[in-house]
Amino acid sequence: MIDPVVIAPKGELDLHAVRALAPQLDDAGGADYPHLIMDLSAVTLLDSTALGAIIQLQHRFNGQGRSLSVIAPPGSAAAVLLELTGVRSSFSVFPSRDAATA
């Protein structure tokens, strides 16, 4: 089995940080490996552009039949945002990388 590729940003994911992360996300969206893990465990803040970038990535993966796992431990900034904005069920969310690869 091919190991999933992991993207694990840290700290505050605001407009500026999302711009910096964009090439990596673009590469991931254009690649052909089957499984990407977006690990948001160490993200302390996500703004609307960050959520938009993750939605965009999920949209591309859906269209390609590839799978995207989002790591958002309970109580983390990412978990709270996904819950509050009503989009949690549109993603495969796991509490840890181990859980995502089990």
């Binding site: 552009t49 904005t85 009503g86």
Partner: protein, 398 residues
């Protein structure tokens, strides 16, 4: 005097209106009449060109008699220059919307009867300003004390008047930063005993975000005017944003209907912070409901659910965007939902009406010395059956 003004306004261009309004009061002894409009930041009253002398400076709302007439919607008197005669300061109210203030200077003391006539005259003047503003830029330009971005230009064009009051209801709005708002919008309408109200926040900032917000707002109005319910309105906005912006751009929104007779409130939160209720003047709590997904995202999402709550007479309801609660104090601390709730509780307990509470909230979060905004901050504060609508009518005070 009122007849003469009405007759002369038929062919009056907006830029001539101030001079036309200043003329008829000479017949009742007014030596000069100056119209002041409130600026976008609601901090200064700006004299209109064509009224009074040409060298008048803006007056601060804080600490001036003009400002007090404006912020308390009261008719106030002060003595004329060199102690001769009297000045009247009257609020310029289009209905209840606070456009500014009028200063009328008389050579002799003014009778109560004259004060009453001047109050009606100021009301007519305000309605004429509101009507004529569609035909020229003079009032709009006067209200601007700083350059405005194109995004803000677009969003202000879409914004309804930021204050309305009717039987059982006062509703006030705030859109900040007023010269550089990038993607927030608000709207409301009172139709046959039902208030329709919504707050919208497009992802990102700047002109692109303002465009997305404009699509969502237009779809909202279109649905409302077709008589659609909340679920249909959600679907229409979701389609409008999703079809025009097939990438992941989206809008979060909370939009509600309030039955003004019964207080029944129904709403949908599309990925948006929940509304806040301030009850009995102190207890702030969020109106939690299962959130629906933001509008226009290209993913499979669960069907939205309409939430319901009964307001109690005297309740205040706040709809807002996260830029408000995430605004920073000077020490870098976030305002937070609790902080905003406490602020509104405090101002309401002091007896302030909704527009004045929002004006002070705005000053607290936007004042350059006091704090700064990282994001657009939008709020709608409404008061249901609080009896406060009469406080927005002109008061005669000493």
């Amino acid at each position: 005097m009122i007849d003469e003004l009405l007759r002369r306004t038929h062919l009056c261009a907006p830029s001539d209106l101030a001079a036309v309004i200043a003329d008829p009061p000479r017949r009742i002894g007014a030596r000069s009449v100056v119209l002041y409009l409130i600026d976008y930041e609601q901090q200064s009253l700006v004299p209109l060109p064509g009224s009074g002398r040409g060298d008048l400076a803006p007056l601060s709302v804080a600490g001036t008699i003009a400002g007090r007439a404006f912020s308390t919607t009261s008719v106030l008197r002060s003595s004329g220059s060199e102690g001769i005669g009297q000045r009247l300061w009257l609020p310029l109210l289009d209905g209840t919307e606070r456009l500014g203030a009028i200063e009328m200077t008389f050579d002799a003391p003014v009778s109560e009867r004259t004060v009453m006539v001047c109050e009606r005259y100021a009301h007519l003047a305000a309605m004429l300003i509101a009507t004529k503003t569609a035909y020229g830029d003079v009032f709009e330009v006067a209200r601007r004390r700083a350059p405005m971005t194109i995004a803000s230009e677009l969003l202000w064009q879409l914004a309804p008047p930021l204050l309305f009051a009717t039987d059982r209801l006062v509703i006030a709005g705030m859109l900040e930063p007023c010269y550089d708002n990038g993607g927030d919008a608000l709207d409301y309408a009172v139709n046959a005993g039902v208030l329709h109200v919504g707050v919208f926040d497009a992802m990102g900032h700047g002109l692109a975000a303002a465009g997305v917000a404009a699509f969502a707002l237009s779809a909202y109005r279109h649905s409302r005017r077709r008589g659609c319910g909340l679920l249909e309105t959600y679907a229409a906005m979701d389609d409008a944003v999703g079809a025009q912006f097939p990438d992941a751009r989206y809008v979060t929104a909370v939009f509600a209907q309030l039955d003004l007779e019964s207080g029944r409130l129904t709403w949908i939160s599309a990925g948006h912070p929940p509304p806040l209720v301030i009850r009995h003047g102190r207890l702030a709590r969020t109106l939690s409901a299962p959130p629906a997904a933001p509008l226009g995202i290209p993913l499979q999402t669960p069907a939205p659910v309409v939430a319901e709550e009964s307001l109690e007479p005297g309740d205040l309801l706040l709809l807002y965007t996260d830029g408000l609660t995430e605004a920073r104090h000077p020490d870098g601390q976030m305002f937070t939902v609790a902080g905003v709730g406490e602020f509104i509780e405090r101002e309401a307990a002091a007896g302030l009406v909704a527009p004045e509470t929002l004006r002070r909230l705005r000053n607290a979060i936007v004042d350059r010395q006091a704090g700064h905004l990282n994001d657009d901050a939008t709020a709608v504060l409404l008061e249901w059956r609080r009896g406060s609508e009469v406080d927005l009518l002109p008061q005669t005070a000493e």
